[in-house]
């Protein structure tokens, strides 16, 4: 009697327009098609319009001399458009990395001062944070730029420390510590030192665990690195032979046939998706056989499969030039490395150069010797550093406040010293809260360097704008911007995620 389900309804399929699964997928596929259609339409339109206006969208300008000068960077007179954009990217990255380091330090200090029980420090921290984060970054950058522009003329006799450190309407100049002859070989010695130091550290920790006596693992490891560094200063020329190895690698890479690499890349693409699908199916396998798959599961597998095949098609058909590019650049890379480690390099690894001043036409300016920061760099740098540090201060403060009071009390009840409690209990928990928003701020800082365009510092956006003003290739330049910034975002989130995951494992 229990199984007398009404036969009429048994396994009857509903009409298509009322079937949940069918409706769900039809709606989604229509949405997808509409989106793709709209994109296709826009791209088509843009193509037509570009053709009509006689501006072809190709990337030829990357290898043509753009005839532009850059205000600052590793190469202020680039000979190709690609080189110019490259200089812009380096400038952006330089600004971003320096900014992130300095902003973190300032931000942490301000954040801690807002938490201190000293009334004055707390108020000063609040004023700093509230002022800087409520004024738009661009306004701050323009203000700093205007202030720098109104400083005195350049002169070696004027500057906070004459001959060493100068501030003027041409920006800042200070001694430059630069890579010299034997640097890369020296780095090999230091690398060996780091490896040895790590071994030493582990050994010392093991000893300490065994005997319970303090063995100073970090200190001794650090000492070992210093010893290796000092030793390497003198013996680095013995690593000259590494250059030959790289030269050899360069010729090996250039001998790789293009077709083979192409097929390898395509296979890799298909292989990855097959591997993923197999892994996915395995995760759905039960002792009683394959579990019933939902339509989402099928979607994922189809998506992965199509992605893999599309990747292969892309490498084989749409962009066959990739393999030759990979081979050339790989062999070039090894050749450059070979030069860096050349046998003849035996000079000092690192050198210092003091600022100098040269006459450019009628006006004096900083010469190439010292480490110079143009007004643009200084304005953008101070702008992003102060602005971001205000946000970092809030994150630090929020993170520490987020640790419940009970944790401090529990640590105290266990008899931990305040410093130990901070190091072992409070900071690990606060860091976990702080890390994701901190990563976000680093990302923001990187993107904010694009405001350099307002004060003429040659970052990627400013260089890009100059390039497309010269060549009219707006779309390619914009695509390069997008690609560059998306890669930056991706790398920062990968790094942040790495630490995030580590932090969690450490905690558990």
């Amino acid at each position: 009697m229990a199984s007398t389900a009404p036969a009429s309804t048994h396994h009857e399929r509903p009409p298509l327009y009322r079937d949940v699964t069918v409706v769900k997928w039809v709606v989604q596929i229509i949405a997808l098609l509409l989106t793709l259609g709209a994109l296709w339409f826009l791209a088509n339109q843009a193509g037509d319009n570009l053709k009509a206006s006689n501006v072809p969208t190709d990337y030829d300008f990357l290898s043509v001399n753009p005839g532009i000068d850059l205000s600052s960077g590793i190469d202020t007179d680039p000979d190709t458009g690609g080189r110019a954009l490259w200089v812009g990217m380096v400038n952006t990255l330089r600004m971003a990395i320096a900014g992130i380091l300095v902003a973190t330090v300032i931000g942490v200090l301000i954040g801690l001062s807002r938490l201190s029980n000293n009334w004055l420090l707390k108020k000063l921290g609040t004023v700093f944070v509230e002022t800087l984060r409520n004024v738009p970054l661009l306004v701050q950058i323009l203000f700093y730029g205007a202030v720098f522009a109104s400083l005195d003329r350049v002169s070696l006799d004027v500057g906070p420390v004459n001959g060493w450190f100068h501030v003027s309407n041409k920006g800042l100049s200070m001694p430059r510590v630069h890579i010299a002859d034997g640097f890369y070989q020296w780095m090999i010695v230091i690398g060996i030192g780091l490896f040895a130091a790590n071994l030493l550290r582990k050994r010392r920790i093991a000893q300490q665990d065994l005997s319970g006596e303090e063995t100073y693992p970090i200190l001794s490891a650090f000492g070992l690195v210093v010893i290796f560094g000092a030793l390497g200063w003198f013996i680095h020329p013995i690593f000259g032979f590494v250059g030959n190895i790289f030269d050899g690698l360069s010729s090996v890479v250039s001998a790789v046939p293009e077709g083979a690499l192409q097929i390898l890349v395509a296979l890799l693409s298909v292989g990855t998706s097959v591997y993923w699908i197999r892994g996915f199916l395995n995760s759905r396998r039960t002792p009683a056989g394959l579990a019933k798959l939902t339509d989402d599961d099928y979607f994922r597998m189809i998506f992965a499969g199509v992605g893999g095949v599309l990747g292969a098609v892309f490498f084989l058909v749409l962009w066959p030039g990739l393999s030759s590019w990979m081979i050339n650049s790989g062999s070039d890379l090894f050749e450059v490395l070979g030069n860096k480690f050349g046998n003849g390099r035996s000079g000092r690894p690192v050198d210092v150069a003091l600022p100098d001043i040269v006459q450019v036409g009628k006006f004096p300016n900083y010469g190439p010797s010292g480490l110079n920061f143009s007004i643009g760099f200084a304005a953008v740098f101070f702008g992003v550093v102060f602005y971001t540090s205000a946000f970092i201060a809030e994150i630090v403060r929020g993170g520490i406040l987020a640790v419940p009071k009970g944790q401090t009390e529990a640590a105290a009840a266990l008899g931990l010293r305040r410093s130990t409690a901070l190091r072992r209990v409070i900071i690990p928990q606060a860091a976990r809260v702080m890390l994701p928003p901190l990563g976000n701020q680093y990302l923001n800082l990187t993107k904010n360097t694009s405001l350099a365009i307002a004060v003429g510092y040659s970052d990627i956006v400013q260089v890009g704008q100059t390039v497309y003003n010269q060549t009219g290739k707006t779309l390619p330049v914009v695509s390069i911007w997008m690609f560059f910034y998306l890669s930056c975002s991706l790398s920062i989130s990968v790094i942040v995620n790495f630490f995030n995951v580590r932090m969690r494992i450490v905690e558990r």
């Binding site: 009697m1 229990a2 199984s3 007398t4 389900a5 009404p6 309804t9 048994h10 396994h11 009857e12 399929r13 509903p14 009322r18 079937d19 949940v20 699964t21 069918v22 409706v23 995760s283 759905r284 396998r285 039960t286 002792p287 009683a288 579990a291 019933k292």
Partner: protein, 259 residues
């Protein structure tokens, strides 16, 4: 004693009633974990069925499959002659015929008690607001908290919240009420007030399926008790049979732990 025997041996009162919920060989997987293994049972119109068992035995999963909060992957579920398939219309129908009360109440915290109760009658049943409010007040009266209509759920005690949740389900005038551990999240002194409401409901003749650990309630009002373990129904019987001479060892073990 097989499950089918127990089903037919259930309370005579229900022998000639129609089937309300019919489950045949219901399977449910979470990834590679099988939560329900061929669950087969029939619940008659007006029957009060109590499902018990240790945690993780699949009883909540089963009850949630019955109004399709979870989608079963094998077997058939038929509620009041409507089969639970992918048919949109069937799902709509079943949702409005089956009321459900949750362990965590799940009241809408941003709406007043009255709005919580009238929301579905107005927007699903398309009732005029005045009528819906009148019914809501009557239901609040029935569950014993007529004076709380204008308050927000956050201002009520757990027991009061659960009673509002029951009123909210009843407002749809369901033919079946499902209770998913309705008293597990309550403080001991509030359990009774909720159980009293449920007992009153049981006597009113509505079909009820209750997942609970309250054995006193089961003994008093259940027509049948089903014991589940490991995703299967292990034993079915009247309260008398169940509490006095359970046949299965697993049932005995469970009863010895819980009583």
């Amino acid at each position: 004693m097989s499950i089918d025997d127990a089903t037919t041996a259930a309370n005579d009162r229900l022998a000639d009633r129609d089937d309300m919920i019919v489950c045949v060989d219901v399977d449910k997987f979470y990834g590679d974990f099988q939560a329900l293994k061929g669950v087969t049972a029939t619940i008659k119109e007006g029957e009060v069925a109590v499902v018990c068992g240790p945690s993780g035995s699949g009883k909540s999963t089963w009850i949630r499959c019955i109004n399709r909060l979870e989608v079963h992957q094998g077997g058939d579920i038929v509620v009041d002659g409507i089969e639970l398939t992918n048919d949109l219309r069937n799902i709509e129908k079943i949702r409005s015929e089956v009321g459900m009360v949750f362990q965590q109440f799940n009241l809408f915290p941003h709406l007043t008690v009255l709005d919580n109760i009238t929301l579905a009658p107005i927007w699903v049943r398309k009732k005029p607001r005045a009528e819906a409010e009148g019914m809501a007040r009557a239901l609040l009266d029935r569950v014993g908290i007529p004076e709380q209509a204008e308050k927000f759920p956050g201002q009520l005690s757990g027991g009061q919240q659960q009673r509002v949740a029951i009123a909210r389900s009843l407002a749809m005038e369901p033919r079946v009420m499902l209770f998913d551990e309705p008293t597990s999240a309550l403080d001991p002194e509030m359990i009774k007030e909720v159980l009293d409401v449920m007992k009153e409901l049981a006597r009113s003749g509505i079909t009820m399926m209750v997942v609970t650990h309250e054995m006193g309630f089961a003994r008093e009002v259940a027509d049948r008790i089903m014991f589940m373990e490991g995703g299967e129904i292990v034993e079915v019987g009247t309260p008398e049979h169940f509490f006095t001479n359970p046949t299965e060892d697993r049932t005995k073990l469970f009863l010895s732990q819980i009583l």
